[in-house]
Amino acid sequence: MSKSYILKGGLLPNGTKSDIAIKDGLISGIGTSLDASGSEIFDIANCVVLPGLVDLHTHLREPGREDAETVLSGSRAAVKGGFTAISAMANTSPVADTAGVVEQVFRLGQEAGLCDVFPVGAVTQGLEGEKLSEMGAMANSIARVRVFSDDGHCVSDPLVMRRALEYVKQFGGVIAQHAQEPRLTVGAQMNEGIISAKLGLKGWPAIAEESIIARDVLIAEHVSSRLHICHVTTAGGVEIIRWAKARGIDVTAEVTPHHLLLTDDLACSYDPIYKVNPPLRTQKDVMALREALAEGIIDIVATDHAPHPAETKECEWQEASFGMLGLETALSIVMATMVDTGLMNWEQVADRLSIAPARIGGYSDHGQEIAIGKSAHLSVINPTASWKVDRDLVASRSRNTPFHGMEFPGVVTHAFFKGVKR
């Protein structure tokens, strides 16, 4: 691990041109004319150096569906996308609702060694929404779980949600809610709107998300707990979060790259590559999400990377699985939708994709400013280069990217995790 590097000529998020020295896993120098003796030198002129990206919402499928993704393959995809920390969602088989499972996933991440893999614990046993899982044991395990989520399922019972929010306060945890009122979304296939009516696909109305967000921010306020809203997709949801934050409620929220770019009219092809939960919404929602992310009403971008084997997508829409890949395309999509549009600068990108998610997740070694003595988790992106997404070239074990064939700006050229190039 005693490798040392010099990154020459890159730009820090604030636009300052500076060389960066990395030694023994730490940032050992910033500035010009750094001592390069014995170091491997990378010329990164015109590239932007970001603190290593942190994903708060990743499905790694291991244990249980290793045909779709493993902790190792997901880690590879993460590093390719510039992430140095990812959060393994709990909906594995078995569910990550015990210390044993989260420790297994944590260890698999350590063995892969490409980035930090922080397991997310289930809120309820078996994701069934009824009994609390052993969140204390998971918090005190070697995995040190702080983020709890039944993602894929909504913690729909308000009493269960209240208790969970209260319970995790004792170890500084946060409940990440998948906001989906189940009764309003029975059999739902896509955004409920003009397109779903035309296509004859059962609608997933925006109110099913908004009503849960509204309920949960009120519960969080009442019990003085910390709430995180997963994958916000609606303009109405943004408005409720805006209201809650103005009121001082301790709520954070995420948006996925795909909800910043894609809209529900893509379902007209009936190609389930566009089937995702929560569903793609309208252009109005997309614009509201972008603005909210720029403003900080939505705190972070999280990928909701959801690998699925081919046969679950090469079928009828209503038979297909929900979800799409996200890790390898996230930063490019943020650049296309937020930076190139003038909505955000690179400092804000660093915040939304690294600093803020690390803070929410309690990943104290990540999301640090780029400064001497900090852990050298760094991502380097060349914003002047572009690339074309090819599903046959992804590092993920699955190929279900809706971005196949699309050209995006921003190429991740290097990712450094613990001071080592990955």
Partner: protein, 316 residues
Amino acid sequence: MRHLLSISDLSKDEAVLILDTAIEMARASDGPMKKLPTLRGRTIVNLFAEDSTRTRISFEAAAKRLSADVINFGAKGSSLSKGESLKDTALTLQAMGADAVIIRHSASGAPVRLADSAWMSGSVINAGDGTHEHPSQALLDAFTIRKHCTKGGGDLAGLRIGIVGDVLHSRVARSNVLLLSLLGAHVTLIAPPTLLPFGVESWPVGISYDFDSVIPSLDAVMMLRVQQERMSDLFFPNAREYSRYFGLNRDRMLMMKPNSIVMHPGPMNRGLEITADVADSARSVIVEQVSNGVSVRMAILYLLLAGAPSEIGANA
């Protein structure tokens, strides 16, 4: 590739061409030689992944009257019931050299998947997919309306047509809204608000919750089948209340204007959306719809398959 997947793929001229061709087909079928040699040597697969009687038989009769070889592939007892994927079924049919696949499927968009994918190269005809569309039904309905309510040619300009009942779950309604408005008719959807799709205000139709106020103005009343299980999904309180406000009974029929017709795509729930005396009345063209269906489907198959290039669905 030439398909019939959705009415929205048709231009007005193409729709009229199908209806005109169907007249020719009906005439030929009435002649001494019922069978035309047009599609001799062509293989047409009836892929019915969802139960259907009249549509499957209608397409089969249409194909046989055009001398095509017809292979019936049903849900029960086939590889579909053994969990074969749509993809593998399509690859199999492709390998067997199907020139056209007529598909009925419970999943909205299944015919689009079949036609858009690289799975097969033959024509795909949508014979009803989920709650999406049922284009051949709409075409036979338009054919029937044209025969009874116009001088027999051209479009349906100026006609007022009511579609009554469970529009939300009806593929027949979706295709008819598109086709009848394309042909210039004024369509009114008559249903409780729970059975109208979200955003229906953007459709090219009028909307009414009051059957009695609309029925005297209609040239054709198209009743939709109401599934009994909708009651448990809270769409309406019970069958009696539904029938009272949205059923077509004798009293309502007496409010209809002269020469107006009563239609139903079948199968009917007698006593729920339509009473027996209405279904069997002189205004009812429900049985005739079935025989018109064969002529219209002959026209569809003829225009899609006889000779190249195809004359309809070029944009599909």
